[in-house]
């Protein structure tokens, strides 16, 4: 069965879409990742124009993180003050990202920029995840291995405009969280991702936040930044495809429920290696397309269409 996407102006197989949404939703349920970084490139592979894939991907991020942030708010595992600072940075970052995105669209280079940023970020995440899970696997075999120190102070924390974040138990300059939030906002606008994969490690290792508030606070920032970015893409590019979003979201929420159930029963470490390999495979496919001489050197863009 085909679905006609009114904004992308093409039709795609409905089951493929539900499969993409469901599969990525399942992974996100199993590993607690947002999955935006997989949905957007998978949409490229099935023929959705990159601009529509990015804008609709970021809309799907809102759906996949909203219930999480509500649960965390109820459990009071959100550092609201830190969340707001990260969000302020995120909104600025999103604006910069949207501006850059539209500039590159006009120059005909947006496909390249999106693909390049995916190669770089998927490469980094996949590599780190593989390394981390291999190390965890070693550690589970050898429990006496030394553990890493969690909380360290950098010169970054001593910049001016110090602020107290009571829930996180931190007294640090306001600049590092602003910059982290901003970086994530830029990624959201250009890549159509939530950016949790960058923000969570940054919050733990760079800001030194306690792990129990990290997930809730990052979800808080992601939900609002993704919502803002969706609005910006809708207003400046008209590239959000609601029909596409509905299929991805429905597939995604069902998949996430299944994934959570499966994740509880399976061994996390081995699965994590699998996810890392999958991320690296997607990265490899995009990199291959950029490096291998294309069969057709020419491509066409129609002003006002995607």
């Amino acid at each position: 069965m085909q679905v006609y996407l009114p904004i992308a102006e093409t039709s795609v197989n409905a089951f493929t879409l539900l499969g993409v949404g469901g599969g990525v939703g399942m992974l996100s349920g199993m590993f607690g990742v947002g999955g935006g970084f997989l949905i957007t490139p998978l949409l490229f592979f099935i023929g959705v124009p990159p601009a529509v894939a990015v804008a609709t991907g970021v809309n799907q991020v809102v759906a996949s993180s909203i219930s999480g942030v509500l649960a965390h708010l109820k459990r009071k595992t959100v550092d609201l003050r830190m969340g707001v600072v990260l969000l302020a940075g995120g909104l600025v970052g999103s604006l910069i990202g949207i501006w850059f995105f539209n500039l590159m669209s006009r120059l005909g280079q947006i496909d390249l920029i999106v693909q390049l940023s995916y190669v770089i970020f998927l490469g980094i995440i996949g590599g780190l995840m593989l390394q981390e899970s291999l190390r965890a696997l070693m550690r589970s075999k050898n429990p006496n291995a030394p553990r890493r120190k969690l909380h360290q102070h950098y010169w970054l924390h001593n910049l001016p405009f110090k602020m107290k974040f009571r829930t996180s138990g931190l007294y640090i300059s306001v600049f590092p969280p602003l910059l982290v939030g901003m970086g994530v906002g830029v990624l959201a606008a250009i890549m159509g991702v939530g950016g949790g994969f960058i923000m969570v490690p940054a919050m733990i290792y760079l800001l030194g936040m306690p792990t129990k508030v990290v997930i809730g606070t990052s979800l808080f920032q992601i939900t609002f930044v993704a919502a803002f970015t969706t609005m910006m893409h809708a207003v400046t590019n008209q590239s959000v495809d609601v029909m596409l979003a509905v299929f991805l979201i429905v597939g995604g929420v069902v998949g996430a429920q299944l994934g959570t159930r499966i994740g509880l029963k399976l061994k996390a470490e081995q699965l994590r290696i699998l996810l890392a390999l999958m991320v690296l495979a997607v990265c490899g496919k995009i990199a291959f397309d950029l490096l291998w001489p294309p069969a057709e050197l020419y491509s066409i863009t129609v002003p006002g269409r995607f």
Partner: protein, 252 residues
């Protein structure tokens, strides 16, 4: 007496229109609905003649279906620092978003260059290049690439020799509109040819429109993008939150 006069006038008009083409389409409207996956159109017609069949020349038919023209930018990739990047581009002033030509024989045999130039029948002539293009030969390469890329997407089609003209009178052919066609008014032109010259032409139209819901969504997205953005956020929140609430309810 009146009848005689009529016949007389008809005969007088004959040298101009000795043969006429009449044609119809299986559908004059295509609706881009939720499950649209392309559409097949049957074009059929007949040649009406009021004089005996000339014996010294061949009769031929060409059918050209043309989608709404758009400006287009054709990009060429080159290797830069190891990766393939769009480097050069040429703007095409107007190129049909869809173009299909079907005929009773090879266009080069049945259509004279003059008639092609007058009626712009072959795909190459349906595309209007920008006049300010500096390098003509380079531009030709880009225009040919445009045709090649769109042919590979099924947006440009050439079916030379696909029309069967039965007993010099009846003809029909089928053309497929792919799933990526855009909205608008598509013209279907049917040409009747003798000795490479167009002796009669018939034109009809196909209206391609998005169905009610698709049309509403597109209009909203372009006319009231803010409301559209809010709608997509509402859907995301509704499904995202609603689904997890539903599953929690099911579990208890």
């Amino acid at each position: 007496m009146r009848v005689l006069w009529t016949i007389f006038f008809l005969l007088a008009a004959l040298p101009l229109r000795a043969e006429e083409v009449i044609a119809g389409l299986s559908q004059n409207a295509v609706s881009l609905t939720v499950n649209f996956e392309g559409s097949e159109i049957l074009i059929f017609g007949a040649v009406r003649r009021e004089a005996p069949l000339p014996e010294d020349s061949d009769l031929n038919v060409i059918i050209a279906i043309e989608g709404p023209p758009q400006a287009a930018i054709v990009w060429r990739k080159a290797r830069r620092a190891g990766i393939w990047v769009n480097t050069d581009s040429q703007t095409v002033r107007a190129a049909p978003s869809f173009y299909a030509v079907a005929s009773t024989g090879a266009l080069s045999d049945i259509l004279s260059i003059d008639s092609d130039l007058t009626h712009r029948i072959s795909t190459r002539l349906a595309i209007f290049e920008a006049r300010n293009g500096a390098d003509r030969t380079d531009q030709a390469g880009f225009t040919e690439a445009l045709i090649r890329v769109r042919e590979s997407e099924g947006l440009y089609q050439s079916h030379e020799g696909s029309i069967a003209l039965e007993r010099e009178t009846l003809f029909s052919t089928r053309l497929t509109l792919p799933k990526t066609i855009v909205e608008g008014r598509y013209s279907a032109r049917i040409f009747l040819l003798r000795d490479g010259d167009v002796i009669d032409e018939f034109e009809t139209f196909i209206d391609v429109r998005k169905a009610v819901l698709e049309r509403w969504l597109t209009n909203l997205a372009y006319d009231q993008p803010f409301v559209y953005g809010l709608l997509s956020l509402f859907i995301a929140v509704f499904f995202g939150w609603g689904a997890s609430a539903l599953f929690r309810l099911l579990r208890n």
